[in-house]
């Protein structure tokens, strides 16, 4: 299977400039700065069909073309390396193992957008990677790929790494910008969108680490060639973080279109469910996306094999489908308590809500408390319906999508595993009777 991002990952010393360069690194910077105009770079990204790898899957080229190029304010590119969605650890892997790929992508992309200063906003817990990136940046400056008049051209760029300090919400792009401005990570009301008024109220593009890294092979191969890889509108390759009850967890680069079944069971990837157990459920795109039971993750409701693409995973909508999201693939075996797993997710969203808007601030805590009771044998008859209703009243009614992200796992777990929740309630009732 073709690898575009991790091709040289096992090359000793690939984290250093010299080895990376020897393996063809920084070719996209040379090609774009010396032979292409910024708009031509953007055109290639458009042609590639690349979709944002941070979770929402928004076409990257289109986002770039929205950037307000008429404004007289400086433009910014900000890389979203906040990676805090449970189940997702691919950006960490990429930055740690092959940091120059991100730096190269940042230079080429900044050139396309006309940014003279760019930032990589990285979650504070990844502080050791800050060091790795800063070292790589230093090397790139020394080799003339950053700073004034890069490669003798007119183009100059400064690149900085900015650490966060522990807040999932700062992965939301406007909260990230607030945080980068030294404020609380409260998402902004949109409009205005960052493309018009982002960092310091200037036109700004925010892209995920993997999205920016993918610009490198796109420029090297050409957008059209890149678009041939993958399946249909899901072009290119995707990094999948595989975790949970599997034999081989880790980060895998797959060509979009790979059957889910092959991904779970092939030795090239997850190597099957651990301890010889049966598959119970999968959360395919990070904790926020709907959970699916084994039969629906392997096959769509129509009985077609489910593929690792944006389209196939969402086939069936939220009734019988899910989303590719950030590619955080969490596998659960037959022994897993869906209620308990959901409780940990609910606790997570409650902990991470910024607290700005009432449905999310109050609703996430309410859901966690109910699930805590259910799981600890203090369930009540009405709990399940209240959970469904609270999730419904959060969804779509909040400032930012964290509210939806908190609601979807609850709604989907009850949709597909209602009997497990009912069992919790029944057990609680029995306990109560025994006590009385």
């Amino acid at each position: 299977m073709r690898k575009l991002l991790l091709e040289h990952i096992s090359e000793p010393g690939i984290e250093t400039f010299d080895v990376y360069r020897k393996k063809g690194g920084y070719a996209s910077v040379e090609k774009s700065l010396k032979t292409m105009t910024p708009d031509q770079v953007t055109e290639q990204v458009k042609a590639s069909g690349l979709r944002g790898r941070g979770g929402a899957g928004f076409p990257a080229g289109m986002k770039w073309s929205f950037l307000d190029r008429k404004s007289d304010k400086p433009r910014y590119l900000v890389c979203n390396a906040d990676e805090s969605e449970p189940g997702t650890f691919k950006d960490r892997y990429l930055m740690e193992k092959i940091p120059h790929l991100l730096i190269e992508g940042m230079i080429t992309s900044s050139y396309a957008l006309g940014a003279k200063t760019s930032y990589i906003y990285i979650r504070g817990e990844y502080m050791y990677i800050v060091r790795i990136l800063e070292k790589a940046i230093e090397e790139a400056y020394a080799a003339g790929f950053l700073g004034k008049n890069i490669l003798g051209t007119e183009y100059s760029l400064d690149l900085y790494v900015h650490p966060g300090a522990g807040a999932y919400i700062c992965g939301e792009e406007t909260a990230l910008l607030e945080s980068l401005e030294g404020k609380r990570g409260n998402p902004r009301l949109k409009p205005p969108f960052p493309a018009i008024a982002g960092l310091y109220a200037s036109p700004t593009v925010v892209n995920n680490v993997e999205t920016i890294a993918a610009v490198v092979p796109i420029i090297n191969l050409s957008g059209d060639e890149y678009a041939k890889i993958g399946l249909g509108k899901s072009t290119g390759t995707k990094l999948i973080s595989a975790s949970g009850h599997i034999n081989k967890s880790g980060v895998y680069e797959i060509e979009l279109g790979l059957p889910v079944e092959e991904f779970i069971y092939s030795d090239q990837y997850c190597g099957g469910v651990w301890k010889g157990r049966k598959l119970k459920a999968v959360v395919a795109g990070g904790s926020s996306v709907p959970i699916l039971p084994a039969e629906l993750i392997l096959k769509t409701a129509k009985g077609e094999p489910r593929l690792m693409t944006y389209e196939s995973l969402s086939d069936g909508g939220f009734i019988s489908g899910t989303m590719l999201g950030s590619g955080g693939f969490i596998v659960m075996d037959e022994t897993t308590s869906i209620v308990k797993n959901l409780y940990t997710f609910a606790r997570f969203y409650h902990h991470e809500s910024c607290g700005q808007c009432s449905p999310c601030r109050e609703g996430t805590g309410w859901m966690e408390k109910i699930l805590h009771r259910l799981h600890h044998g203090h369930g009540r008859k009405e709990d399940i319906d209240i959970l469904v209703d609270v999730a419904k009243k959060i969804e779509g009614n909040t400032i930012c999508p964290l509210g939806d992200a908190a609601a979807w796992p609850v709604a989907s777990a009850i949709r597909h595993f209602r009997s497990e929740f009912e069992e919790c309630v029944n057990n609680s009732m029995k306990v109560k009777e025994l006590v009385h």
């Binding site: 504070g124 999932y168 401005e181 967890s249 940990t344 997570f348």
Partner: protein, 176 residues
Amino acid sequence: MELKFSNNTLSLVNKIIKRYPEGKQKSALLPVLHLAQSEFDGWLSPEVMDYVASLLTIKPIEVYEVATFYSMFNLKPVGKNLLEVCRTGPCWLRGAEDMVAHIERKLNIKAGETSADGNFTLKTVECLGSCGSAPMLQCGANYYENLTEEKIDQLIEKLRDKGVRSSYLKSVEINS
């Protein structure tokens, strides 16, 4: 004693401020708070926050608002080594609760507490981006992954012997 960064740190602070456009020095707040927490005993006292406010010429309340928002900032003193064990779904699936219970037994503390000798504070945290190597914990800059009870025992011994304060900005491994 007047609170003040070392000269090295001060010049680093000035370098950090220059990363942002003129007049946007508030952007340096998170990086500078990290430096402050690392240099002043692992937590942010009101005095430390007021000092950071004065360095960045912003109001003290702007620092309090930010420091209390982010989970990596300690607003109370913590033990020399802050053991942060991830407990979110993927880690829970692979036994994070057993690891927490083991540390609680071993150090005779509950999550959120500090051991009597002041060496360890145990904290449960949310996903640290290490789900593929669960269960895991973070201490200072270091990630300790694929944990077992034995590995935790060894780690605790090692950290106790070392006797230095862990910091997000310093790797325990490299410093040894």
